[in-house]
Symmetry: C2
Subunit: 171 residues, 2 copies
Amino acid sequence: MRWEEVDSQVCSIARTLAIFGDKWTLLIIRDAFRRVRRFSDFQKSLGIPKHRLSDRLNKLVDAGVLKKILYDEKRARYEYRLTPKGLDLFPVLMTFVQWGDRWATDQDGSPVVFRHSSCGEISQPKYVCNHCEEEVNARTFQPEVGSGIAKKLLRGEMSTDDAGRLNEVIY
Amino acid sequence: MRWEEVDSQVCSIARTLAIFGDKWTLLIIRDAFRRVRRFSDFQKSLGIPKHRLSDRLNKLVDAGVLKKILYDEKRARYEYRLTPKGLDLFPVLMTFVQWGDRWATDQDGSPVVFRHSSCGEISQPKYVCNHCEEEVNARTFQPEVGSGIAKKLLRGEMSTDDAGRLNEVIY
DNA sequence: ATTATAGGGTTCTAAAATGGAACTCGTCAA
DNA sequence: TTGACGAGTTCCATTTTAGAACCCTATAAT
């Protein structure tokens, strides 16, 4: 595919990357989770050029990941806040944190740790099957054709070739 | 920060994005999990220009995420395979899949579903606390200064200002 | 009343990243 | 001997980015 077609791929990873697959966007989201809300605060925190930030924020609002909330009517000033769609990125950020903690820190260790307010412990969350609660990994998880592909095959909008290799695949 | 400084940020998200924060890299990783291994197969699968693919594969090898395995001595042909460091990206990809399934599919639903071979069920994995096993979200997870920041504060390599807002933060 | 400042945007140019096509260079198979 | 394959490279046009300067409105300071 060409990059402009990425978001029309029948692949949730590709479609998600179509929104977040650039240098800055996920850092903006990270800051939003840290309660950064205003244009100038994002700019200070990230050091991103203004027009780039402006562009990214608008795209995230268009994508429904952030919403603008008026806080100064006269000057038309807005805060940028996570929508439910944006808040749902929490696991994405946490997997980045965990991977970075394991593979991309210096000798000082994890910059930040997380305390789970429900149990009070410092937690390293894990990714488990919602049926048996066992931790999952690439070897125990096999992809199968889902409705998103199956329906397109039925309607003849996809070739089995495109969908083909799925059942011989690790992940 | 400027982008070149991103990987020196004391932030695991920033450091992870320094490797994967571009259009193609995570799609290459996705394909690697799908057992795509050879240059031409990546190219066919992705439609990425060859020199771009070449560059990305080399960077991933340098980063220790992929390794080259000789499969044809005479012609010096290599396969690209995930290292343990690369395999550890599985949760990252799965969170992308889940977010995309929830927020970026058409009406046909999830393109791909996953069966957990341990229990035999179609699974929607969830992210749980490793102590109490409760599912986590932004509200129940509070960041605290970890050793990576604490040690730098002690050595005077960071200002409390940089570390400051951590304890009033959601995520 | 005048000036300064904050917040948010634009516009311009130079530098970097990207895409597309053509070219190379050993093998291998017909 | 010719053609094709796999894995690159090289060159050039296009797009994306960064950095700086400039603009505009409304409040705050003198």
